[in-house]
């Protein structure tokens, strides 16, 4: 009976290669792998022919799916190779880490679902975080992923990274690089694991386990080994993070470990396989553990020989696809340069850095920008894995898969733009599915703003699948077993919880887009209930536009407008009643706010286009306009809205303008009125001569001080117009006095006459000079 411990680095192709060789040589009768025993059941699926890495084991708590942990694997993960070896030869393979049932029980709350992504991949925990905060921990995390021991709970450890010490001793400043060159790129594998074990034993000789959790994990591993021994296995192969290797060689007596593990709480967990992506294996996505260059590692794993030549050629092909000239001669030179660089840096073969510097220098002519492309496409090499259909999934996931197949919407990590024609049934169903998923917080697709011509018949989506959706789906499963039922239940639940009317009506809008009849009825009734007790006219008015949109355009999506109209009527009644009261005694900011609400309401009324409603609304506007004590801005706006609907004739406008701008009215209020009237399109106002004349008179009668005080407001009122409009207005005002006017002529004549005299006197004084210049004689006086 013998125990063989293989200390590895997760996702290390060199380790994976040597592990394979070592296992072939050893011919073990059981393989124990550091990983969650919770996943023992789904382990056999690993050799299923539909299984395509990168994939991840997902362990989650069925009651609270947010508490989840991923264990990503890919072809070149040593664990993957070890498990494959065992399963292919039908010898027992077991996970031996502390079950997540116990680990998750210890971390009761995870604030959000991304937390486990960063922390809880036990296979990837670093040996020591050198006191960095979480933000900077990512680098450290992965850098020391090889050592694999650090639980997430103690990020503040002030300890020197043991691997860094080793690397320093070897003369490397970057221990990641050291490991890469010493272990992963090594082609001669003899005695690799003995070497690792020896180095780690030296490191751990005077370092106790980092904390209780690490001690418990290692205790559990030893217990698993003991159990295997007891069962009578002869050659036990143990595959674990290099850091743990020394403490697993000889398990010794079980007593201490049993004590350590007693009294650990457990929760229920479920395990499944989910597809994973290459970019999630890398640092960049903020997933704190893994490898920077999965594409490069995969290349190291798959390329049989001539690694740098194949890599440079792939880079050249990639650049050619992008239309950059790269000749074979350049590729030859790039490889030569990479090799010279490696030699200069005392390396046996070019590493990724050497290759990339050579590619940048030779293939890109020193220009760094194409390197981003090579980094994305080659170094990371984005790819989505695939798991067999037999993998245990929640019913919702199954339902989603059926729908995806039926609608021919394949999940992909690339960003794809979908243009859906809602008149076609499949496209409509696709849009509805995407909307339903969005309701469930699974933003697979993002609706894009549609440009004018495609109109309401089109929806343009940007779709991109993300691996975390697997968790979101499991989480959403508590709401129902199909996408429709889950989203219906979830939407209703959300509506119940929401107090604010506009939010509910937004939700209603979404539910209608997602075509969930069950939810529509319920949310409508909730909306009605809330509206009945809502005292805030703003909220009522804010809730109106989405409803009006639905009522007007709903039929495109075959939603009946009749359901909604009663609700709109109810809301509208309340608005009409509440509005005058809500408009009294507003300060400037509140008036601005009210203005927006009134505009929204107006928009809805014109959208619905119902005569009775419009009459009622116009009546309300008129009421507001004429009521004293209402803010000038609101009154001005009402005046403008009525004018736009041709409810005011010129005479009335003249009167209103005069009234609002009369000297008795406080000047700021008058200015606010002007702003209210002028806001919006300028062309309509251009032809209201009376308005301009009144404005002109009011302005010229202001005292200089008041004028200065009002100038900002006036300027603001005019600032939204287009320059041509402003110019037209200027021309208009300039020519006001010369315009033949029927109505205002008599009223303004005396004042204007007085001004004329004044001007004439002044004008007379320049006439002689002018006459002299022009060489004419001056007639008259």
């Amino acid at each position: 009976m013998s125990i063989h411990v293989f200390g590895i680095r997760h996702h290390g192709p060199g380790c994976a290669r040597s592990l394979r060789v070592a296992l072939e040589e050893l011919q073990p009768d059981i393989v124990l792998v550091e990983g969650p025993p919770d996943a023992q059941e789904v382990l056999p699926l690993l050799i299923h022919e539909e299984m395509q890495p990168p994939v991840a084991l997902l362990i989650y708590s069925p009651e609270e799916p947010k508490r989840a942990v991923y264990y990503p694997f890919t072809h070149f993960s040593p664990e993957w190779q070890a498990l494959r070896y065992a399963l292919d030869r039908q010898i027992p393979a077991r996970f031996m880490d502390l079950p997540q049932a116990m680990q998750l029980a210890k971390h009761p709350t995870q604030p959000d679902s991304t937390a486990p992504l960063e922390d809880d991949i036990p296979g990837e925990h670093q040996a020591t975080t050198t006191g960095q905060q979480k933000t900077s921990a990512a680098r450290i995390n992965t850098a020391t992923a090889v050592a694999d021991a650090q639980p997430p709970s103690s990020p503040d450890e002030q300890q020197k990274d043991p691997l860094a010490l080793l690397a320093e001793a070897a003369g490397y400043s970057d221990h990641e690089l050291w490991w890469e060159q010493q272990i992963e790129q090594r082609r001669d594998m003899t005695n690799l694991f003995e070497g690792i074990l020896e180095a780690m034993s030296a490191l751990r000789a005077d370092t106790p386990p980092k904390d209780e959790e690490e001690a418990q994990r290692e205790a559990y591993m030893r217990q698993t080994i003991r159990a295997a021994q007891k069962e009578g296995f002869e050659r036990i192969a143990v595959v674990c993070g290099a850091w743990h290797a020394p403490v697993l060689i000889s398990p010794g007596p079980a007593k201490a470990d049993t004590a350590l593990l007693s009294g650990l709480k457990k929760i229920k967990t479920a395990a499944t396989w989910i597809p994973w992506t290459n970019s999630r294996l890398s640092y960049r996505s903020g997933y704190g553990a893994g490898v920077t260059s999965p594409g490069w590692y995969e290349h190291l794993w798959t390329a049989p020989d001539r690694i740098s030549i194949r890599w440079s050629t792939r880079a050249a092909h990639l650049l050619r696809e992008q239309g950059l000239d790269v000749s074979s001669a350049s590729v030859i030179e790039a490889v030569r340069l990479a090799e010279a660089l490696a030699a200069l840096r005392d390396r046996a073969m070019p590493g990724l850095i050497d290759l990339h510097e050579a590619i940048e220098t030779v293939l890109c002519n020193g220009n760094p920008s194409p390197m981003a492309l090579i980094r994305d496409k080659l170094e990371i090499g984005e790819r989505l894995g695939q798991v067999p259909a037999e993998a245990p999934t929640v019913p919702l996931q199954r339902d989603l898969e059926v729908k995806q197949r039926r609608l021919r919407l394949k999940p992909s990590t690339e960003i794809v733009t979908l243009d859906l024609d809602l008149r076609k049934e499949t496209d409509r169903a696709r849009g509805q599915l995407l909307h339903q998923l969005r309701l469930l917080n699974i933003p697979w697709g993002e609706l894009q703003q549609v440009s004018g011509k495609s109109g309401t018949f089109h929806e343009v989506w940007k779709v991109q699948w993300q691996v975390e959706f697997a968790v979101a789906i499991i989480e959403a499963n508590i709401w129902g077993n199909t996408v429709e039922t889950a989203s219906t239940a979830f939407a209703c639940h959300k509506a119940e919880e929401t107090e604010e009317l506009p939010a509910i009506s937004e939700l209603l809008d979404k539910v209608i887009l997602a075509a969930l009849p069950g939810a529509i009825d319920q949310i409508l009734s909730i909306l009605q209930k809330r509206a009945a007790v809502s005292a805030d006219v703003h909220h009522l008015m804010g809730a109106l536009p989405p409803l009006a949109r639905v009522a007007r355009y709903g039929d495109v999506r075959q939603t009946r407008a009749e359901q909604i109209l009663p609700v709109i009527d109810g809301l509208f009644e309340r608005i009409v009643i509440g509005l005058p009261g809500a408009c009294s005694s507003l300060d400037d900011d509140a008036a601005q706010h009210m203005l927006q609400s009134i505009d929204k309401c107006q928009e809805s009324v014109s959208l619905l286009n119902r005569d009775q409603q419009r009459a009622e609304w116009q009546h309300t506007l008129r009421q507001l306009m004429e009521k004293e004590g209402i803010h000038g801005l609101v009154r001005g706006r009402c005046c403008r809205l009525l004018l736009e609907q041709h409810m005011l004739d010129e005479e009335e406008l003249q009167r209103l303008t005069g009234l609002a701008l009369s000297l008795a009215a406080p000047a700021p209020q008058a200015a606010a009125w002007v702003e209210g009237v002028l806001r919006g399109s300028g062309m309509l106002m251009l032809h209201q001569d009376g308005l301009w004349r009144a404005l002109d008179r009011w302005l010229s009668n202001l005292t200089p001080e008041t004028f200065e005080a009002l100038l900002p407001i006036l300027r603001r009122a005019f600032s939204n117009f287009q320059p041509p409009e402003r110019r037209a207005m200027g021309e208009k005002v300039k020519n006001l006095s010369t315009l033949p006017t029927a109505i205002t002529g008599k009223q303004g004549s005396s004042a204007e006459h007085g001004q004329d005299i004044l001007h004439q006197e002044r004008a007379m004084s320049v006439l002689p000079v002018l006459a002299q210049i022009m060489g004419v004689t001056l007639h008259g006086n």
């Binding site: 000239d325 000749s327 001669a329 350049s330 030179e333 030569r336 340069l337 090799e339 010279a340 660089l341 030699a343 200069l344 840096r345 510097e357 050579a358 220098t361 030779v362 002519n365 020193g366 220009n367 760094p368």
Partner: protein, 379 residues
């Protein structure tokens, strides 16, 4: 034609009877750093490419500085990313031609001189690229008197630095490659790919010996240059030399260069305080990047490059002023004229930029009052 002839003959003559090194205004790299090169050669026991004086490792140490096993300190020649130098050295080791590309004043020629000094011990095989550079400067010319008397012969041939480098297995340097007319640039193609230079008049050819290579420099700022054809570009490995990354790096570069130049020019003033260098570098960096170091104020950018090399010459100029007209210590009024001259390249636009900068940044800064007053006096 004759002028070309004369200059080339003179050039060769100069090479033959070298002036005593200590009398020349500026020594070649291999003369100035002869001791360092000798020490490096003594300890360098690694493999050398054919005809190289030093191994690539030693060349890197020569450029980047370091301490030899016997305790001898090598001064850094290039302060910046060592990877760039490694790429450059590796390029030359693979007998590919090297193109150093970058803004004016980013040490392109400096690196090229030191690379050839370290690799071949000779940095003088230099072709200055101008709009008037013709094929003879790159290939060979004729001594017409002899040509008329004797007809075409080896003796009538006037060899170019390129030809010399090929024969001796040394490195030829081409400065400002992009200023050379395109059709003249094309003569390089055969030299670079086939390493041979045909002489049809004598029915012979010059084949390059091992160790021959070309280092070209070109700047990417100037307009109206002759862009390299892709055929030629393909024969070069391009290394782009950047402006210094950090303030500290740039201060160190200026400090080092000023010290060594001051020594060479025998300026009477004492070594400038680091503080003054820091001020000049700050002004240059701020104007170059368009924002103050603290990131709080935006400033306009003048039309010049404001490279590190210019900062060095401003300080040097100031040192001379201080030495001859001042009290021997570098003060702000010694710097003012040089600083103003370096920044105002366009008398109208740049003047406004500089004035604005003085008013908004220099005037407000603690302890910079003297500089403000001095610069205002000059303007």
């Amino acid at each position: 034609m004759t002028t070309v002839d004369n200059t080339q003959t003179n050039h060769t003559d100069n090479n033959n009877e070298k002036a005593a090194p200590q009398d020349v205004l500026r020594q070649h790299a291999e003369q100035q750093y002869a001791e360092e090169l000798a020490e490096l050669a003594k300890v360098d026991n690694r493999q050398r490419p054919p005809n190289w004086q030093l191994s690539p490792w030693a060349v890197r140490t020569y450029l980047m500085g370091g301490t030899l096993p016997n305790g001898f300190a090598i001064s850094p020649k290039y302060i910046g990313n060592p990877r760039l130098i490694e790429i450059a050295v590796a390029t030359l080791a693979t007998d590919r031609a090297l193109l150093l590309y970058g803004l004016p004043g980013t040490a392109k020629s400096w690196v090229s001189e030191h690379l050839s000094a370290a690799i071949t011990g000779n940095s003088t095989l230099l072709i200055q690229g101008t709009a008037g550079t013709d094929e003879q400067a790159i290939r060979y010319g004729w001594n017409y008197a002899r040509l008329l008397v004797e007809g075409p012969s080896q003796a009538a041939l006037v060899v170019s630095p390129m030809m010399q480098a090929m024969q001796a297995g040394k490195i030829a340097r081409i400065e400002e490659l992009t200023r050379i007319p395109s059709e003249v640039q094309d003569t390089l193609i055969t030299i670079l790919s086939e390493k041979t230079l045909p002489v049809p008049e004598l029915n012979t050819e010059i084949q390059a010996n091992k160790g021959f290579n070309v280092i070209a420099t070109a700047n990417n700022r100037d307009k109206g240059v002759n862009e390299l054809s892709s055929a030629l570009m393909r024969r070069f490995n391009t290394v782009i030399l950047p402006l210094p990354d950090s303030m500290e790096e740039e201060v160190e570069i200026v400090d080092r260069r000023v010290a060594s130049l001051g020594r060479a020019l025998e300026l009477p003033a004492e070594k400038p305080a680091l503080e003054e260098i820091r001020r000049v570098v700050t002004v240059f960096r701020e104007l170059r990047s368009g924002v103050t170091i603290d990131g709080k104020t935006k400033v306009k950018t003048p039309s010049g490059t404001l490279s590190t090399a210019e900062a060095i010459s401003v300080i040097n100029n100031g040192l001379a002023m201080a030495g001859y007209y001042g009290d021997g210590t570098l003060r702000s009024h010694d710097l003012a004229a040089g600083l103003t001259g370096a920044i105002i390249k366009d008398p109208v636009q740049d003047r406004v930029v500089w004035l604005e900068y003085l008013q908004t940044v220099v005037k407000e800064r603690d302890g910079w009052k003297d500089l403000y007053r001095a610069c205002n006096e000059v303007l």
